[in-house]
């Protein structure tokens, strides 16, 4: 047994896009234990419910995260709508679905790029971002925002998109699908990529479920659980099945996310073809009283927005459990026994979003 060394990893680390801090206990090159420390970017924004009324809080919910912004605001709005028994017009539900899927595309492409960066494939990173840029442009055309869309509100959405513009978006997303196939080929077939991913950080099915994993982490280990199957927004009206891989290693996680890219393209097309006409928002009056756990599937997994109102303008409690929060225990397990050089890759495979985890 070699001597043990503890090295601090993060919060600022060249390979990590996110400020997670881990104390790694090493024995030679092997990690024996990892102790996380979050709280580096804790913003205490759940405390902000005391200062902002429930309508204004949407703008805050939109800014919890810089990647899955839209789905946060949507989950929040769904929570308040459930508490207040507001029925959202169907057109708004479909628009929300379309925007969530485009947000998922942009997030997964970002993740693929960062992953390529983590194993040192710089030009693949550039390729991912080149495609992502076009998705972000589409979001800007439809909503006015590139990442933080700012279009959700309690009771619907704030902007409508004409049907012909939607058809144009669908056509362009499908065109991008061709480029994504080329990108996917590199990720899934290239030997140098496989070398870094196959067999790294294996989580078997039972472990993944036991550790409370969510999202692509869980599905890569063979558990078919996807919050979208609950049918929130318009997911009940489109046809899809959760994407599952068996192996539970980093390569499988990569494969799940890549296959979800194509799934999202398909969902955007389906939703755009079925979108009904009509209003995109209803007027909401009164104050929320009651509580609800709103769940949505983010690119990183299931997110919980707990909303509790006591009949005043200000919510009593707003709590966000982000998917990364649920995936951290699994990360700690995966890190035990891995090589030091694999740590960045493993941290990235959970698709960490630390800033929203610490809120």
């Amino acid at each position: 047994m070699g001597t043990r060394t503890v090295i601090p990893f993060g919060p600022q680390h060249p390979v990590l896009p996110e400020p997670i801090h881990l104390d790694l206990v090493l024995e030679d090159e092997k990690v024996v234990e990892a102790i996380p420390k979050i709280g580096y970017v804790h913003r205490g924004f759940e405390k902000l419910v005391e200062k902002m009324d429930f309508n204004e809080l949407v703008y805050v919910a939109d800014r919890i995260c810089g990647i899955c912004a839209f789905i946060h605001s949507m989950a929040y709005c769904q929570g308040v709508e459930a508490v207040m028994s507001v029925e959202v017009p169907p057109r708004a539900e479909f628009l929300r679905t379309i925007w969530s899927e485009l947000a998922r595309l942009s997030s997964h492409l970002l993740w693929l790029g960062l992953m390529a960066d983590a194993f040192g494939f710089e030009s693949l990173f550039m390729q991912s971002f080149r495609i992502r840029e076009k998705i972000v442009d589409m979001l800007e055309e439809m909503t006015g925002g590139r990442i933080i869309l700012g279009v959700c509100r309690v009771g619907g959405v704030r902007r409508d998109v004409p049907n012909d513009a939607l058809a144009d978006i669908v056509r362009r997303v499908k065109d991008l699908g061709v480029e994504m196939h080329r990108l996917a080929d590199v990720f899934l077939q290239d030997d140098s990529v496989k070398h870094r991913l196959v067999g790294v950080g294996v989580l078997i099915r039972d472990q993944a479920a036991e550790l409370g994993c969510v999202g692509p982490m869980l599905r890569a280990s063979g558990v078919s659980r996807d919050t979208r199957t609950l049918g929130y927004a318009a997911y009940g009206s489109v046809d899809f099945a959760p994407i599952v891989e068996k192996d539970g290693d980093s390569y499988a996680r990569c494969a799940v996310r890549i296959r979800e890219l194509f799934q999202s393209v398909d969902l955007v097309a389906q939703a755009a073809s079925k979108i009904p006409g009509g209003e995109v928002g209803v007027k909401v009056s009164g104050y929320p009283e009651g509580e609800y756990h709103s769940r949505c599937e983010q690119p990183r997994g299931e997110v919980i927005h707990y909303v509790k109102g006591d009949g005043t303008r200000y919510l009593q409690r707003y709590r966000v459990r982000t998917p990364t929060f649920a995936n951290i225990p699994a990360l700690l397990r995966m890190l035990q026994g891995c090589e030091l050089a694999d740590v960045p890759v493993l941290v990235l495979t959970i698709d960490p979003c630390i800033s929203c985890t610490e809120r």
């Binding site: 902002m52 800014r63 693949l124 909503t143 006015g144 700012g150 590199v186 290239d190 030997d191």
Partner: protein, 127 residues
């Protein structure tokens, strides 16, 4: 086996132009995103200084002074949420699709309504 997938992409990239623009020499064509939330523009002539926008603003970026006939905005606070535009009763606010240029100081943009000729209610100054 497959290291050529990437080489094909690289070859294609070699012969197609760059995917990026040489900002700030070349800006993005604004017509691509007419809806972009760039920055708040005000038609100060039409403003009645009712403070509705300032009250509604979630970031308190707007300060309105009725006595000085002054409307100012802290561009760095503004999160371009569009709430003020929606609430303005005179429709004198608009969301422009150009971003605020980068800045090194935290100045406020101050708009003052030129004083109108007093005691002559008939002469309405042209917008």
């Amino acid at each position: 086996m497959s290291v050529f997938g990437m080489s094909r992409t690289i070859m294609r990239n070699l012969f197609s132009g760059p995917a990026t623009r040489l900002y700030p020499t070349r800006e993005k064509e604004p017509h691509r995103a007419a809806r972009s939330r760039g920055r708040i523009e005000i038609d100060i002539e039409a403003c009645i200084f009712c403070s509705a926008c300032a009250k509604r603003c979630p970031t308190d970026a707007i300060i309105v002074s009725k006595t000085d006939k002054e409307w100012n905005i802290d561009r760095l606070r503004c999160c371009t949420c569009n709430a003020c535009v929606e609430v303005c009763p005179k429709k004198c606010l608009a969301m422009g699709n150009r971003y605020t240029p980068p800045t090194v100081t935290k100045d406020k943009d101050i708009f003052r309504q030129p004083p109108r000729p007093p005691k002559e209610p008939e002469t309405i100054p042209g917008a």
